[in-house]
Amino acid sequence: MSYLEVNDLRVHFPIKGGVFGRTVGHIKAVDGVSFSLEKGKTYGLVGESGSGKTTTGRAIIGLNNITSGKVMFDGVDITNIKRAKSDARKNIQMIFQDPYSSLNPKKRVFDIVAEPLRNFENLTRSEERKRVQELMELVGLSPESILKYPHEFSGGQRQRIGIARAIALKPKLIIADEPVSALDVSVQAQVLNFMKEIQKELDLTYLFISHDLGVIKHMCDQIGIMYKGRYVEEGTADDIFTNPQHIYTKRLVAAIPDIDPNKREEKRVFREEVKKEYEQSYNDYFDEEGLAYKLQPVSDTHLVALPEKG
């Protein structure tokens, strides 16, 4: 039994249209996604804009309504997390992309970080203060700064405040939605290092959503690649980066700029080849609607979306 198990998850958004604004169709933002997370590991969900990776994360935590499918967390069904026992809501927290807009600018850091504590735990004022100060220290910010407002912090510090809020209730699973995309490289390094550190310290499990393959490779044990609401490939970091099987994954990996200028020409030729292969074998990898097929195992850890044989 895995720690988090997502089974055939679907999130469809209605499209309104016509004279009477009836539902004329659905956008299948997430269209039958299944994966599972092991405790204490980091699972990376990768895809380009519109792939449904963020919707998947938001659906698990209850920010998007699940159309169908099942989500199990630690053996408990949390598909309808809003009505689930509050334990699950406490144990799963989210870190958002933009540290500038995800913190209420009118609230002091103290109130921002204390908010989840107030929702779930009955603490006295002084206990609460002590907890917040501990959390601030844990994320590397000075405990005295709790009376400041978010705008008085830099981007990296703000993201740490977001992390402090997320770990306030000692959660077991954190869904991190593009946590470093809005940050400069050096600040990004700071946040990534820190996330790794608290993972060990607090025995956290991460669902790490990102479009940046470099970051994903650095952070994740297992990776799922999404395209148009479906999985195209899943495997260990090694499977994905050194042995990509699906043409979409190959293309994605080929598109990452190489930091070695000597390999420039080599890379360009390689990309050209992959592009040709993509165009030639497109129909082998996608169905008539241009969507991915069901995942088929190619090894113990490696799954690829291929048409069923026979």
């Binding site: 016509g18 004279v19 009477f20 604004g21």
Partner: protein, 320 residues
């Protein structure tokens, strides 16, 4: 596009039904009826009840509403109890007057708002802008009826430049040039008084649109192409800022209705606004409900117009 217009027009139907119900019920709730205060004490109360029965005033409200609406749909707004004539006839000429007053006011409003808004937005935070914004604050703070009274007193009575009441000099033949000029002459002062006050919102709106648009990224793109400042303004900033103003047009109409009630009464201008107030004081319910309904429908049409204009001018909505 046509789908959007059709849908938007269909939405109007329930709006108008709710509006008519509301007007009708409110009129019913008003104390007294058309007979109160008009009948001498010597009239037999039984006779009064007979009249009420005859007029259908004792029927349940929904029956009265149904018969009223039935008439309205056929264009029959009932008879004025006071003027002893069909309401539609009574309203006819006044509606034309109010229409022209509104047109004149709108023209003046835009004549004032567009140059001032552009100057204010283009040269924002200069003395020119501060002067214009100052004016808009005054316009915002000044009650229309007081301002109109002052205008009437200065230009009508003291200086005698404009007539002080009516919509036409008596005795002129309709259709002649003199008749037309007299009409316009009577319009100017009330329209100007209203425009000077109500224009503030359009100026502010235009100014803010321009200031906003000025800081958009695509303005940088235009400059990077080598467009001159004046071209950047005319082609990119102004064009993009005037479109929302065009959409605002429908809502101006709604604003005008409120204004015309004050203005027509102060300037003794025989329009719908004046009729509305008269019908309230005289408890002439058929007239009251009819005028209110027409004003309400005009507001709803104004909003519709706004949406349609916006959908025509803004490709982002048009394409949908």
């Amino acid at each position: 596009m046509w789908k959007f217009t059709l849908r938007r027009t269909l939405i109007m139907i329930p709006q108008i039904i709710v509006l008519s119900l509301l007007i009708f019920v409110l009129a019913q709730l008003m104390p007294g009826d058309a007979l109160s205060g008009q009948i001498g004490p010597d009239v037999d109360p039984e006779r009064l009840d007979e009249i009420r029965e005859e007029m259908g005033w004792n029927d349940p409200w929904y029956e009265q509403y149904a018969s009223w609406m039935g008439g309205v749909v056929k264009g029959d707004l009932g008879d004025s109890f006071r003027f002893k004539m069909p309401v539609s006839e009574l309203i006819g000429q006044r509606m034309v007057n109010t229409f022209w007053l509104s047109v004149a006011t709108l023209i003046l409003t835009y004549l004032i708002a567009i140059p001032l808004g552009i100057a204010s937005g283009r040269y924002n935070d200069t003395w020119r802008d501060q002067l214009i914004t100052g004016y808009t604050y005054v316009g915002f703070a000044t009650p229309l009826f007081i301002f109109a009274l002052v205008m009437l007193w200065i230009f009508g009575f003291k200086l005698g430049w404009f007539p002080t009441s009516g919509s036409i000099t008596p005795g002129l033949e309709p259709g002649t040039f003199e008749y037309l000029m007299s009409k316009i002459y009577h319009l100017i002062l009330p329209a100007l008084s209203m425009a000077l006050i109500t224009t503030y919102s359009t100026i502010q709106y235009l100014r803010n649109e321009i200031v906003d648009t000025k800081h958009k990224d695509f303005i940088l793109t235009a400059r990077a192409k080598g467009a001159s400042e004046s071209r950047v303004y005319n082609r990119h900033i102004l064009r993009n800022s005037l479109l929302p103003i065009a959409a605002f047009f429908g809502f101006e109409i709604t604003g005008l209705i409120g204004g015309s009630i004050f203005i027509e009464n102060i300037f003794g201008y025989p329009g719908m606004g004046q009729l509305l107030v008269e019908s309230i004081t005289l408890r002439d319910y058929t007239v009251l409900t009819a005028t209110t309904l027409l004003f309400g429908v005009a507001s709803i049409l104004g909003a519709l117009l706004s949406d349609i204009i916006l959908s025509i001018v803004d490709p982002r909505i048009r394409i949908k």
